[in-house]
Symmetry: C2
Subunit: 303 residues, 2 copies
């Protein structure tokens, strides 16, 4: 399984970066890095292109020994010792921030984790998801993005779109603002309710769904006209993105406290962002319509 | 003591805002707010003026009952019950972000806290400090800022400039970057090593030192010429400011998790900020010189 997942995330990284390169008109910058404690990664970042303000696609394959603190939170109630403290983790993580405020930011992440030899109950799991963060609400974008992910879930007994959709809305909650970061998508963790192969096939199909879920949305929004005021609203929304990632996101917090590669962890932050004191939107405006759905998540599947 | 401190922070807020108004050429926006659990505050924010991108000066006077969690962390090892769970807190907090990248951002905060009736040992304390965060290093600015604060400390037996300077460098540490947020200043907490009056007089003198410590620095930097590239470096440094405040700052974290007034808590964030992937500075450049002192804090007092 380790090798299947490693191969898959690298292949998906290649496919996605190839697609982004042809859209963005620039080459990505690639950094291959190693981690002192074991393993490493391959980060690819687009900047200064036609479409993206900043876009990063990262894969990593790391291994090592869990710290006593990590072992406690990852032991599922069991006390881990000896070989059971070994861990292996691999995954792909991406965040794309387009220039055009009509085109949504998107994030996706798929990962596999093993403790020890990954044979005992609860000693391996998959996690991941994808979510869409627009500055302006286009209902057909939200419907399309959710629809593609629901179809991937519906093909696999181990997946439950409704539960994963709800989990996503709960996870990406900026509590101090009473807003979600975006329009959601799917989110799941600790997935091990079937064989490794069955779980892997679901996660692989999700990862393969990324381009079909996002590219059609990007294509129809990336060249729309916009005003300076709409660009500023996007910058304020970027500020909220920063608030979520630095205050709540588990992956970011984990990376910052465990000597991760800072530039790869904070690759998710937008190029630019803005905070205005007591910013208010006009009632019934396009900005207000977005806030409505960030405050009260909606269902996006049309039956 | 409660009333003396309340009067002092309001008077200092008036004095500082009066000075900023005459420099900035615009009126501040004032919001008086109340807190459901008891008390409230007066926030004043400058934006769109000649000198400041964003500048906020906030006072608050709040009271209530400590949550069991807060009581544990604030009880100093004692179990608090009944009236001892009451608390009272008042303070002034300010952050000024100038437009010009040659003019430093500055932060100051002075506060008084009481548990119960504030009569028992360890049931009251003062805290605070001031620190300077430039994008470009001007040694005479750092020397002046530190010198004014050292003079305030030296007048009071309860204060120790060297210890408070070190505390400041330790507190404003962006651990994941290996950098301090700025050039430091002073920082102290749990100050109660003398009578309430003696502690108050020290804190009052510190608060009164704010304008003399900062205005001469601002005056000589706010109209210096600068390039687009220097403005971008300022924006990157603003990004680091955001990282510190959202990831590490205790006041911000406390506010976000305890239903504080969000706009007053996040008033400290800059209007705009920037994150570039793997940004590097040229060796020996002005930007590099700043990074040197952020990585290895220096002494700024000339004997």
């Amino acid at each position: 399984m380790r090798q299947s997942m490693i191969d898959m995330v690298h292949q998906i990284q290649d496919e996605i970066c190839e697609a982004l390169r042809s859209i963005d008109g620039v080459e990505y910058r690639q950094d291959e890095w190693t981690r002192e404690e074991g393993g490493g990664g391959r980060s690819r970042v687009f900047s200064g292109g036609e479409v993206f303000e900043k876009a990063g696609v990262n894969v990593s394959v790391v291994h090592g020994t869990l710290s006593p603190q990590a072992a406690q939170s990852m032991g599922g109630g069991h006390e881990l010792q000896g070989k059971d403290l070994d861990f292996f983790a691999t995954g792909i993580s991406l965040v794309l921030h387009p220039h055009n405020p009509m085109a949504p930011t998107v994030h996706a992440n798929y990962r596999y984790f093993e403790r020890g030899e990954g044979k005992k109950d609860g000693s391996w799991w998959f996690g991941g998801g994808a979510d869409l963060t627009p500055s302006y609400l286009f209902e057909d974008d939200a419907q399309h993005f959710h629809d593609v992910h629901k179809k991937a879930c519906d093909l696999h007994a181990v997946a439950d779109y409704s539960a994963f959709k709800k989990w996503c809305d709960e996870y990406f909650h900026i509590k101090h603002r009473g807003e979600r970061r975006g329009l959601g998508g799917i989110f799941f963790d600790d997935l091990n309710g079937a064989s490794k192969t069955e779980c892997f096939e679901f996660v692989r199909d999700c990862a393969r769904s990324f381009l079909p879920s996002y590219l059609p949305v990007l294509e129809r929004r990336k060249d729309l006209p916009f005003t300076e005021q709409q660009k500023q609203w996007q910058q304020l929304r970027r500020g909220r993105y920063v608030e979520f990632n630095l205050v709540y996101d588990r992956g970011t917090k984990f990376g910052l406290t465990t000597n991760g590669r800072i530039e790869s962890i904070l690759m998710s932050l937008p190029l630019t962002s803005r905070w205005e004191y007591c910013h208010e939107v006009a009632e019934g405006s396009e900005e207000d319509l977005l806030l409505d759905v960030l405050r009260e998540p909606r269902d996006w599947i049309i039956e």
